[in-house]
């Protein structure tokens, strides 16, 4: 609001008052014209009646006596009054006098006075008639109305002027002062309006007080808001710092698995070259980030179905920068974005080292440090998993239990270190007899176990067993000029209808092996479907 507008407001008030006064004066003039016209007409009639009263007796004498001279005198006397336009005297005896003023005659209510005889019983002897002068009433009314209008205009104008001055001095000026002062103050500043000494106890004083208290509150709010803003900014900085500097990669996917947003760490965690950190935006995340897309897609489905945070360890796709076999731990949860569409929020962090450590620990736990073969509990665990999977597929697996013959003799003759050499060499030979995908384990002491994974045809198991016997029974060099030789008894069980569980297989293989031992070692035995063990003994170079 500028000062010019304020002045305009003031002038507008004056103009409004002027027009209102003018309208009022005109209205009053019109009203007073009609009132005055009526009043003047009424007054005229009263005056006419009084005039008639004055001349009545003389007129009666003129009418009674038929005296023309007196009658004319009476009429002339009447016409001398401005308010009389015309006068007539009519008597019974052919006396008919009429006297009128020049000028237009307007149809008017005439005043008729019956004349009575001055003598006797007062019988009617004639009439005296006067017609009032209209223009006189009109003029008087007009003059009176004009005067009234002037009067009211003067009074209204004077009142308006006094009112204007008063309003200007006691309202507009302080108001302008307050307004200008308020205009100069910026919200939230410490400045306040000056109190108006003359308006301490009226509305203006209250207005100033209220504005000042409002300014106080605004300033307080501003202060609060600034403090709050600083806090929010600090928190935001912290959050941003966490988001950007966290060691976890944070990402947002749409319902179809395309990357919508990611923090800078994500590229690092995924092993992307620095330049390509943002290259994945909009791309198919499962396919681009992971070694295989399937586990992650399964994870997405799981998150969508259960509605909770799900987690999995997943191998990354090799982008050529990080070490091969990088793994991440991935947390994924399903959300609905502001538009109601499905989206996924996820966190990944690098677990390559932890996983490597885990793997090595697990390897140590699972493998015999001497021979490098799996331990009993590892192969039992893995075999249980394998058998479970086999129920679904049609795969046939073969379990072999092996026990070395004469190992105790070697141990006793050449010492424990020689026994160790025998065990290590035997393990090497066993491994060389089977495919890489088959499993070889040392169950303890001189007991071994072999699992032929998906052995087709089954007849091959006998060939392999035979081959193992040949291989194991070959002499083992223990040192200069020293050789050791051991034999082996093998019990074979086939995973089939009769032998479903791990226990069944073990028991069947064990039975077959003892049957071989019983019949003289160095050979293999296989439990048939009928439970009868078929044993084949294999002669070697140095049979014992």
């Amino acid at each position: 609001m500028s000062r010019r507008k304020q002045r305009y407001l003031h002038r507008k008030l004056a103009v409004s008052v002027f027009w209102a006064a003018l309208l009022f004066a005109v209205f009053i003039a019109i009203l007073s014209f009609f009132a005055e016209f009526k009043r003047a007409s009424d007054k005229n009639r009263v005056m006419l009646a009084q005039l008639l009263d004055t001349v009545e007796s003389t007129a009666a004498i003129a009418a009674y006596s038929g005296n023309r001279a007196i009658g004319e005198d009476v009429l002339k006397g009447l016409l001398r009054n401005d308010i009389v336009h015309e006068a007539r005297l009519q008597a019974d005896q052919s006396l008919d006098l009429r006297l009128a003023r020049d000028g237009p005659s307007v149809a008017q209510t005439e005043l008729v006075r019956t004349l009575h005889s001055p003598f006797g019983e007062g019988e009617a002897i004639g009439t005296l008639t006067v017609v009032p002068e209209t223009s006189f009433s009109l003029e008087e009314a007009r003059d009176s109305a004009l005067l009234g209008a002037l009067n009211s205009a003067a009074v209204i104008g004077l009142t308006a002027m006094i009112l204007l001055v008063l309003v200007r001095n006691s309202l507009s000026r302080p108001l302008t002062k307050v307004s200008d002062a308020l205009h100069a103050i910026k919200a939230g500043e410490a400045e306040r309006l000056d109190a108006l000494p003359q308006n301490q106890n009226d509305e203006l004083g209250q207005l100033v007080q209220d504005i000042n208290s409002l300014l106080d509150k605004v300033q307080e709010k501003f202060k609060d808001e600034r403090r709050l803003l600083r806090q929010i900014q600090a928190v935001e900085r912290q959050l941003r710092s966490i988001f950007e500097n966290t060691s976890a990669g944070i990402f947002l996917l749409d319902g179809r698995g395309r990357l919508q947003a990611a923090n800078p760490t994500l590229g690092r965690v995924l092993g992307l070259p620095a330049a390509e950190a943002d290259a994945l935006l909009g791309e198919d995340f499962p396919g681009q980030a992971f070694a295989t897309a399937k586990p992650f897609i399964a994870l997405m489905r799981q998150a969508d179905e259960c509605g909770q945070v799900v987690a999995a360890d997943l191998p990354l796709r090799n982008h050529g920068t990080a070490s091969a076999n990088a793994w991440v731990h991935c947390l994924l949860s399903r959300h609905t974005d502001s538009e109601g569409a499905l989206c996924f929020e996820g966190v990944v962090y690098d677990i390559t080292e932890r996983r490597a450590l885990e793997m090595s620990v697990r390897h140590e736990a699972d493998h015999d440090p001497l021979t490098g073969l799996r331990r009993r509990q590892a192969i039992e665990r893995d075999l249980a998993t394998l058998l479970e999977a086999a129920q679904a597929s049609e795969s046939r697996h073969v379990v072999m239990l092996l026990d070395l013959d004469n190992f105790k003799d070697v141990n006793d003759s050449y010492g424990h270190s020689a026994g160790d050499i025998v065990l290590v060499e035997t393990a090497r030979r066993l491994r060389s007899c089977v495919r890489a995908s088959d499993w070889v384990a040392r169950l303890g002491g001189d007991e071994f176990m072999i699992v032929l994974v998906d052995c087709v045809p089954l007849g091959r198991a006998s060939d392999i067993a035979r081959h193992i016997v040949y291989a194991v029974t070959l002499p083992i060099p223990l040192g200069p000029q020293q050789e050791g030789q051991v034999g082996v008894s093998i019990g074979i069980a086939i995973h089939d209808q009769a032998h479903q569980t791990l226990g069944d297989l073990f028991q069947a293989a064990d039975l077959a092996m003892y049957e071989v031992k019983r019949q003289g070692k160095n050979g293999y035995g296989m439990a048939g479907p009928d439970g009868v063990v078929k044993v084949e003994k294999i002669g070697t170079g140095r049979a014992s």
Binding site: A69, F119, G120
Partner: protein, 137 residues
């Protein structure tokens, strides 16, 4: 009856302050007895003729009977009658009836003039005039 006679005599001899007034005309005047209003119009100059159209000449008196006559005829005091004539005289167009001194002068004029009409105390009436009207006070 004897005791009442002196009372009747005293009444007859009392001054005639409220006595009747007789309106008289020439013995040969034969008009019918008019209402008092016609007599009034003749004496106050409103008309100059009898009801039958013949000229009428009113004869007034300057005696005390004048007041009684106008009082009986118009029910107005004599001052008002005088004022009336004064106003008409001022216009110069009318004159009041001729005034005679007493009843005897009036009787003489009425006997001699057929148009004359006057008024007298009934006590002075004789057969030489005709009593047109007897005005009661």
């Amino acid at each position: 009856m004897r005791r009442l006679l002196p009372l009747a005599a005293s009444l007859l001899l009392a001054p005639a302050t409220l006595a009747d007034v007789a309106v008289i005309v020439h013995a040969k005047n034969t008009i019918a007895t008019p209402p008092p209003k016609e007599v009034q119009d003749i004496f106050l100059g409103r008309t100059r003729a009898f009801a039958d159209g013949r000229f009428a000449m009113p004869i007034d008196q300057s005696s005390p009977l004048r007041a009684e006559f106008y009082q009986a005829l118009t029910a107005r005091p004599i001052e008002q009658i005088n004022a009336y004539w004064a106003r008409l005289l001022f216009s110069g167009q009318a004159s009041p009836p001729r005034q005679l001194a007493d009843d005897a002068a009036v009787l003489k004029i009425v006997r001699e003039n057929e148009a004359a009409i006057g008024y007298v105390d009934p006590a002075h009436i004789d057969r030489s005039v005709r009593v047109l009207l007897l005005l009661k006070p």
